[in-house]
């Protein structure tokens, strides 16, 4: 079933798809420069309205896209709006545009929805903060960057916005810049992701170099039909170009030296390095738990629902290229699987509610990655499953974070052992948190069940039995640690006075909770296979596969049961187990000392062996010569300023001499 689309005659929303990122950008400028100094309150209103407008446009785009390409049919990539940005040479131009295809539509909806709700929530949560207006300006900047990233039709635009989300994340993590821990966390996040982006950049350059040089300016690398879906001629940096079978066939045949590894694999692993940094895959995950120093709505928006899935999105966007290089895809699968297990194990021992959620996010991101890793072009169920899980996870994880924020707002502490008994004080928060916990644990009929089910099914269907088993185990662990924090926070007795005096959040804060709770319940019923697909083969997931659903549910029940057993009542049983595990427990609680390993490598090894000698060279030789040339420049400034005698006749004399000099030069040059 093919659909003919006339790219020149689309509806309003498609033709003006740039509006989606434009609203937050304009609002950012307005709020940051003009509104913030005038009225804090009004800043929030403007910022929220801008993001809401983006949401409306995104919805319109989604409607139009699925009207043109009905669900269940083929889903071509459209680029309905673009303009030429940088022209390096004929045939090598970088455009700025908006890409419209199932995953970008999905991401746009997720980003605008969660962002709108977080804006509303923050207008209650941040009340009374001196940086209220600044906070909303940053949120808008982030939303703009994220939407620009999602809309990127080429890898250069993606890279630019990739860095922009990094910057806005940096600004938001370090929002409480008086707190040293927040500052160091923001620096850590920026440096770690930036380090990963180095790989990404090299990957981008490699791809761009070969894309241009394998075909040159003239050779058409993609089918006429694909090209007909774009308003501008395809360029080597465009995703459509980079993922086209023609390019991949040619590029995939090139070997990197005599190693037996193809250049494609090298490039894709480098690109995945960037994705792993942004999505906090092991071993680049260390920044995400620390990023919880930012305000909680930020954690919900950036470090749970949107920015951290950018890595997953990038892998999905480049999926055909990963698929052609099987090795790169295996790397994705195993890094994802390992991260999901590793993070879940750590999550069982943490006491800070936001850190548990952060490790849970890591684990779920690993899930998405492994789902992508097990998919192939012929059997793309994992691709759909990954996007499905991204979608449902955004709903319930944002809900969990916002719920946690509401609790923190009430108790003024992040420690779960400071809470307890809050179900009576905060009924709405409690119910919504419970729904999200059930959803993430994978209980029928909530959304998490369906998406996890699909991931497990795809792993099994493509013969990755080991990964399947591992994912099943992680599902159990997830249920365990989620119920652990749920039980400790909301059940039992009030452990502190603060918990005793807690009260329900204001409506501005609980309304987004309720909306997200509803979404977490119903999101699972979206027939994702019909909406999101890649290639011609269709990922039809036929109802519930009991061979997978039953083990998954059992795993979840086991995890829940253990949590119930250990954390209702006095909690002494849990302590006993922790004591009996001894060193292992400490090891897990200290997050396997990964941070310390990094510190050792950077501070002890790199600083001493590499940085100090370089620093000496820099100070002594480079700075020395720089200072000398600066001195020389300044001295020549003083020297030449003696021409400025203030005497008009000396100026005239210089003039006459200059004319003679010109004559001499001309004569010498032309005779």
């Amino acid at each position: 079933m093919t659909t003919e689309i006339d790219i020149q005659h689309l509806g309003f929303a498609m033709r003006h798809a740039w509006l989606v990122p434009a609203f937050p950008l304009v609002s950012f400028v307005l709020v940051a420069l003009f509104i913030r100094p005038l009225s804090q309150r009004f800043s929030a209103v403007v910022a929220t309205l801008a993001v809401f407008s983006s949401w409306v446009v995104a919805c319109a785009i989604a409607c139009e896209y699925y009207r043109l390409c009905p669900p269940g049919g083929e889903h071509p990539v459209l680029v309905p709006w673009a303009f030429e940005w940088l022209r390096y040479q004929p045939g090598f131009t970088v455009n700025v545009g908006v890409i419209v295809d199932p995953i970008s539509v999905l991401l746009m909806l997720v980003v605008t929805t969660v962002s709108t709700l977080v804006h509303i929530y923050s207008s209650g949560y941040m009340k009374g903060d001196p940086g209220y207006g600044r906070f909303f300006a940053y949120l808008n900047l982030f939303t703009f960057s994220m939407l620009g990233l999602v809309a990127a039709p080429n890898i250069v635009q993606m890279y630019v916005f990739w860095e922009l989300v990094g910057v806005s994340s940096f600004l938001l993590i370090g929002f409480y810049y008086q707190k040293p821990s927040a500052v160091s966390a923001s620096k850590k996040a920026f440096i770690v992701t930036r380090f990963a982006d180095l790989g990404f950049l090299i990957g981008v350059l490699t791809l761009g170099y070969f894309a241009f040089n394998l075909f040159g300016a003239t050779a058409p690398a993609v089918s006429a039909r694909t090209a007909a879906h774009c308003t501008m001629p395809l360029q080597p940096m465009d995703f459509l170009y980079l993922t086209s079978p023609e390019f991949l066939a040619k590029f995939g045949a090139l070997a990197a030296g005599s190693t037996g590894i193809t250049l494609l694999t090298v490039a894709m692993v480098l690109v995945f390095m960037g994705a792993a940094g942004k999505s906090a895959m092991f071993p680049l995950h260390i920044w995400l738990p620390d990023a919880m120093e930012g305000p909680t709505p930020v954690s919900a928006l950036i470090h749970a629902a949107t920015m951290v899935v950018a890595g997953v999105y990038l892998v999905a966007r480049m999926f055909p290229a990963f698929a052609v290089s099987g090795a790169a895809l295996l790397v994705v699968a195993y890094v994802g699987a390992f991260t999901s297990l590793f993070a879940a194990v750590i999550g069982t021992t943490q006491d800070d509610i936001k850190r548990v959620l952060a490790f849970s996010t890591l684990s779920q991101l690993g899930y998405m990655m492994l789902a992508l890793g097990v998919a192939t072009m012929d059997s793309p169920l994992g691709y759909t499953a990954s996007m499905f899980h991204l979608f449902t996870h955004a709903c319930f994880k944002a809900l969990l974070f916002l719920g946690a924020g509401s609790v923190i707002h009430a108790v003024h502490s992040n420690e779960i052992w400071d809470m307890g008994g809050l179900r009576k004080k905060m009924p709405i928060t409690h119910i919504t948190f419970l729904i999200a916990t059930l959803a993430i644990s994978g209980f029928w009929p909530l959304s998490g069940f369906f998406s996890k089910d699909e991931i497990l099914a795809s792993a099994l269907a493509n013969g990755h039995t080991f990964i399947f088993g591992l994912a099943l185990f992680v599902a159990g662990l997830t249920a365990f640690y989620m119920f652990r924090i749920y039980l400790v926070t909301f059940w039992g007795d009030f452990r502190t006075d603060k918990a005793h005096h807690a009260h329900e959040a204001p409506p501005l804060m609980w309304i987004p909770l309720v909306i997200l709770a509803v979404l977490s319940v119903v999101a699972g019923y979206v027939p994702m296979g019909k909406f999101v697909s890649i290639g011609v083969e269709h990922a039809e997931h036929h109802g519930i596969n009991f061979a997978i659903a039953i083990p998954a549910t059992i795993a979840a029940l086991l995890g829940t049961g253990t949590a119930l057993l250990l954390y209702t009542g006095s909690g002494s049983r849990a302590d006993a187990i922790a004591r009996s595990l001894g060193g292992v427990h400490t090891l897990i609680k200290q997050k396997f000392y990964i941070d310390e390993v990094y510190l050792f490598i950077t501070h002890r090894l790199i600083f001493n062996l590499v940085s100090r000698p370089i620093a000496w060279f820099d100070r002594a030789v480079v700075d020395g010569s720089m200072n000398a040339s600066a001195w020389a420049t300044r001295a020549s400034g003083y020297l030449f300023s003696w021409m400025q005698t203030g005497q008009v006749q000396s100026y005239s004399a210089w003039f006459a001499c200059g004319a003679m000099l010109v004559l001499l030069v001309l004569w010498a040059a032309l005779i």
């Binding site: 300023s641 003696w642 021409m643 400025q644 005698t645 203030g646 005497q647 008009v648 006749q649 005239s652 004399a653 006459a656």
Partner: protein, 142 residues
């Protein structure tokens, strides 16, 4: 006929002579501009230079293209423009003279790069002087 006049008539100046004359006048003008201390004298020197250039046009017109009027027309325009230039210049000098009591270009050096102390006759604007001296001081503080 007086033999002297006949001799002069036989050697009536040609293109080369006239051009030599204009270049001499131009050079005299340039010399005057570079050496006169009085600004009005400088304007007179400028007038010499401009007129020598205007004469060039007339000379070329007369010797190369006697049939056309282009060069002579240009010369008339130049005279007008030169007059305008001198008028503006004189206006500025008069204003300056009223204010400082002199139009000696050697004293017109309150603005220069290596600022030195300002001495000179006439009714200086004390405030401006103070300002300049302050600048001078601040520049040496850093």
């Amino acid at each position: 006929m007086n033999p002297l006049i006949a001799q002069i008539a036989a050697h009536s100046p040609g293109l080369r002579d006239w051009l030599a004359l204009t270049s001499v006048i131009f050079s005299i003008g340039l010399y005057g501009l570079l050496t006169r201390r009085n600004a009005v004298g400088i304007l007179m020197a400028v007038e010499l230079m401009l007129n020598s250039a205007a004469m060039n046009f007339v000379i070329f017109n007369r010797f190369c293209l006697p049939a056309r009027m282009d060069g002579s027309v240009m010369a008339i325009f130049v005279i007008a423009v030169a007059a305008a230039e001198v008028v503006v210049g004189m206006a500025i000098f008069v204003a300056l003279y009223r204010y400082r009591g002199t139009v000696d270009v050697n004293q017109m050096n309150t603005m220069q790069d290596p600022v030195i102390s300002i001495e000179g006759p006439g009714d200086f604007n004390r405030e401006v002087m103070k300002n300049i001296n302050k600048q001078y001081k601040s520049r040496h503080d850093h």
